[in-house]
């Protein structure tokens, strides 16, 4: 048992930390968020140049063979800056899915680009009524004249507005909510029949609805057998989101603590009031809990698929959803009126923290999953 970072891991952490600190001040973030891309394409390029987008990939693909721990170190720093780039979506999730399901040719074609950052990919799993259920897929794909043709609507595709490729889950057999019969396709967003409705998200990012009308897609892996890979890779996405949340919580706590020390009311810094001191300790306590679970998730993320891995990842996301909401709400509460404004940094951390709980399962979703597998010895 050992929670220390290796020298290489420390260097990676420092690299990411420095990059985020240098680029992501409040005003710059605002400009990135309001840009057409919805994030900084220059920062994305830097992530590629510094090799951060290549970290999880194998050496033959130009990567570093990084594990969940390396992902955690990067995501935590991205969380500290509430960075807008679709790193998790492209590198961890799309990269992971292609790595697990793709043919050698597909890997060579797509993963090299994702690893350098030249290709930014997005993943479309959610639908209007799926509510975190990865098997709830009504978008269809059928084989027509030797090609797969997709029809349907996918929702809230983060990074879909700029993606060079989008991975889409679609049903090729079976009934809705069957795990069997789900397949994964790569589509080109500029292909005929694709239309996108792009919108901003509450936490300052951009996403799109994806409307597919007889769109040609390239099958990844075997037809009908993509569910397990989607579930497994979503577990890696969960671990990454947990780390991002920890980073955002840390900054939210720092901002709040700083405010308690500087804001004066009744002639004293408000941090002199015990009720606020204890609230701040409760925030730190939630952060500690979240940190522990993010570490657990990171250490399990790349393990072989198992019921234990799934259960612990569900537990991590549950604990972190709850902790994140607590820190977000108390960050706003302890700042008072100022945190109700668009111009205040802390408010944006609070928004990201709450929105993380809406990605890959809220606390109810994971509580239900964890309770279902509860061991009763």
């Amino acid at each position: 048992m050992d929670f220390k970072l290796t020298e290489e891991q420390q260097m990676l952490q420092e690299t990411a930390e420095r990059l985020v600190r240098d680029v992501y001040d409040f005003e710059s973030r605002k400009a990135f968020s309001e840009s057409e891309a919805g994030f900084s394409t220059a920062f994305w390029q830097q992530l590629g140049e510094l090799g951060l987008t290549a970290i999880p990939f194998s050496e033959e693909l130009g990567g570093f063979g990084g594990t969940g721990v390396e992902t955690m170190l990067i995501m935590e720093q991205l969380g500290k800056g509430i960075c807008l780039e679709p790193y998790m979506e492209s590198v961890i999730l799309a990269g992971g899915l292609i790595g697990q399901l793709g043919s050698d040719a597909q890997k060579e074609e797509l993963l090299g680009g994702i690893a350098t950052g030249e290709l930014q990919a997005a993943v479309a799993l959610d639908e209007l009524n799926s509510h975190y259920d990865l098997a709830n897929v009504t978008t269809t794909a059928s084989e027509q004249g030797g090609a797969w043709v997709l029809n349907g609507r996918k929702g809230v595709v983060i990074g879909g507005q700029t993606a060079g490729k989008i991975l889409v889950s679609a049903r090729t057999a079976g009934n809705n909510r069957d795990e069997q019969g789900i397949s994964l396709f790569v589509i080109d967003p500029s292909a005929a029949g694709v239309s996108r409705r792009v919108y901003a998200t509450v936490d300052g990012r951009k996403a799109c609805e994806l409307f597919l009308d007889n769109v040609k897609g390239e099958l990844l892996g075997e037809a009908g057998n993509a569910y397990d890979a989607i579930r497994y890779q979503s577990g890696r996405a969960i671990a990454a989101l947990c780390a991002e949340a920890v980073g955002a919580m840390r900054t939210a706590c720092d901002l709040t603590l700083d405010y308690l020390k500087t804001r004066k009311q009744f002639g004293v810094p408000i941090g002199k009031f015990q009720v606020l001191q204890h609230r701040m300790v409760d925030m730190i306590s939630e952060l500690e809990r979240a940190t522990s679970m993010a570490i657990l998730a990171a250490c399990l993320a790349d393990d072989e698929d198992s019921a234990e891995r799934s259960a612990k990842l569900a537990a991590a996301k549950f604990v972190i959803n709850r902790a994140g909401r607590y820190v977000a709400e108390q960050c706003i509460q302890l700042h008072g009126g100022i945190a109700m404004t668009w111009e205040y940094n802390g408010a944006h951390y609070a928004k990201r923290l709450v929105m993380i709980s809406h990605q890959f399962g809220d606390d109810d979703h994971h509580l239900e999953a964890y309770a279902a597998q509860l061991s009763v010895a």
Binding site: M1, D2, I284, L374
Partner: protein, 398 residues
């Protein structure tokens, strides 16, 4: 970063498990698992078994009868002991006064007291709290006045856990009434057989006799019983409190309690099926199990840092709060699991020697009592509010 134990640590865990399987008396484990009362003789029997193996005082230096275990080994031992239903060691001698004597005591004191703790000759209790000094410990008033080779002690201590079994008490006493709060306090070892000491039971809300009041009326204590310097007793007290806090998360005990909760919920019925299959109740168990998982990871992080030479600091305060809240949540669910049968108050069924007919089952007598008893967890060892004050001051510098 590695969250799993090393092969050596796993081998050590196997050794501990084998020892517990062979040596832990089944009747004692049964009492612990069912939350029944332990007699003094039960504690002493288990302590002798540990002593014989050399594992009674693992945290002591080897020359005094301790072990070479690091924090991880100690953690493994505590976890396994709790899982097997070993009684939690009565800490006052082995884990409280002994570390203070080892750190601040004279050679004579070490030679006199440590062997008697190790072989079970002495049963220690703690003389800290007073009627007017609870969370504000430094406001204590028990006076010790130097008179030749003796201190004359007058005053009252309270919440003295298992003081009814003790033959020694370590006390914080005021030796300089003029000095400010912490400065005039000394750390004194007192033989309970000294004339002038009266022990009176306090019956707690669950009907149990666990704590006592101890009265001192012109009690003559030899000056050689002073540990450390006169008026520097607060240093000993602070050292001891850090020691106390590290084990207070009680992860092992909570795991054992959770297993017991699941057992009760499997036997109790609701809507014609086991309560544990009720979605609402089951999700409450799941929730507390996930909190426990997080607290266990936090404990392991602290333990691993300690094994690298880090000193457990204020983060153990956070863990004390989390750990005690988890244990209390578990006892809350156990009580709820019984439905209306939480009401019958049958203290006699808590005695394992009870040979009458159980009203419900062996698991049903203790949950409600335990629930009320466990309210103490967030009060003792520095109340959870005091822990938050410590974090606020030490970590957050507010």
């Amino acid at each position: 970063m590695e969250i799993h134990y090393s092969p050596e640590q796993l081998a050590f865990r196997d050794e501990v498990r084998e020892f517990l399987k062979q040596e832990l008396p089944a009747d004692i484990a049964a009492k612990v698992k069912l939350g029944k009362h332990l007699h003094k003789a039960d504690h002493e029997r288990w302590q002798k078994i540990l002593s014989k193996r050399g594992w009674y005082a693992p945290g002591w230096p080897v020359e005094h009868g301790g072990t070479t275990w690091g924090p991880i080994e100690k953690h493994i031992f505590d976890e396994e002991s709790a899982a097997f239903g070993a009684p939690r060691l009565v800490p006052f001698g082995v884990n409280m006064v002994a570390p203070v004597i080892i750190k601040f005591g004279t050679e004579e004191q070490k030679a006199k007291y440590l062997p008697r703790i190790l072989d079970g000759t002495d049963w220690w209790c703690q003389g800290y709290s007073e009627p007017g000094a609870g969370s504000d410990l430094a406001s204590l008033k028990t006076r010790a006045v130097r008179d030749g080779d003796y201190y004359i002690v007058n005053g009252q201590k309270t919440w003295t856990t298992l003081g009814q079994h003790a033959n020694w008490i370590f006390c914080l006493v005021r030796t300089d009434p003029e000095a400010q709060q912490q400065r005039g306090i000394s750390f004194l070892l007192i033989d309970m057989a000294t004339p002038g000491i009266t022990v009176r039971p306090i019956i707690t809300l669950d009907g149990d006799h666990e704590v006592n009041e101890v009265f001192f009326d012109d009690v003559k204590v030899p000056v050689e019983n002073l540990v450390g310097e006169e008026n520097k007793g607060w240093t000993c007290a602070k050292y001891l409190l850090t020691h106390e806090r590290t084990g207070l998360a009680g992860i092992g005990a909570s795991k054992a309690a959770l297993t017991n909760l699941k057992r009760i919920a499997s036997k109790q019925q609701k809507n014609g099926k086991p309560l544990i299959e009720d979605a609402l109740f089951r999700s409450q168990i799941a929730e507390v199990e996930m909190s426990l998982m997080a607290a266990e990871m936090s404990t392991l992080r602290i333990v691993a840092a300690a094994s690298e030479g880090g000193v457990p600091g204020s983060e153990s305060s956070i863990l004390k709060v989390q750990g005690t809240e988890i244990r209390q949540a578990i006892t809350h669910l156990m009580r709820k699991a019984l439905g209306p049968y939480a009401l019958p108050f049958l203290p006699e069924e808590l005695d394992l020697d009870f040979d009458g007919e159980m009203l419900v089952d062996d698991y049903a007598a203790s949950p409600a009592s335990q629930y009320f008893n466990m309210r103490k967890l967030s009060i003792f060892g520095g109340s959870n509010e005091i822990q938050k004050n410590i974090v606020s001051k030490m970590i957050l510098e507010l």
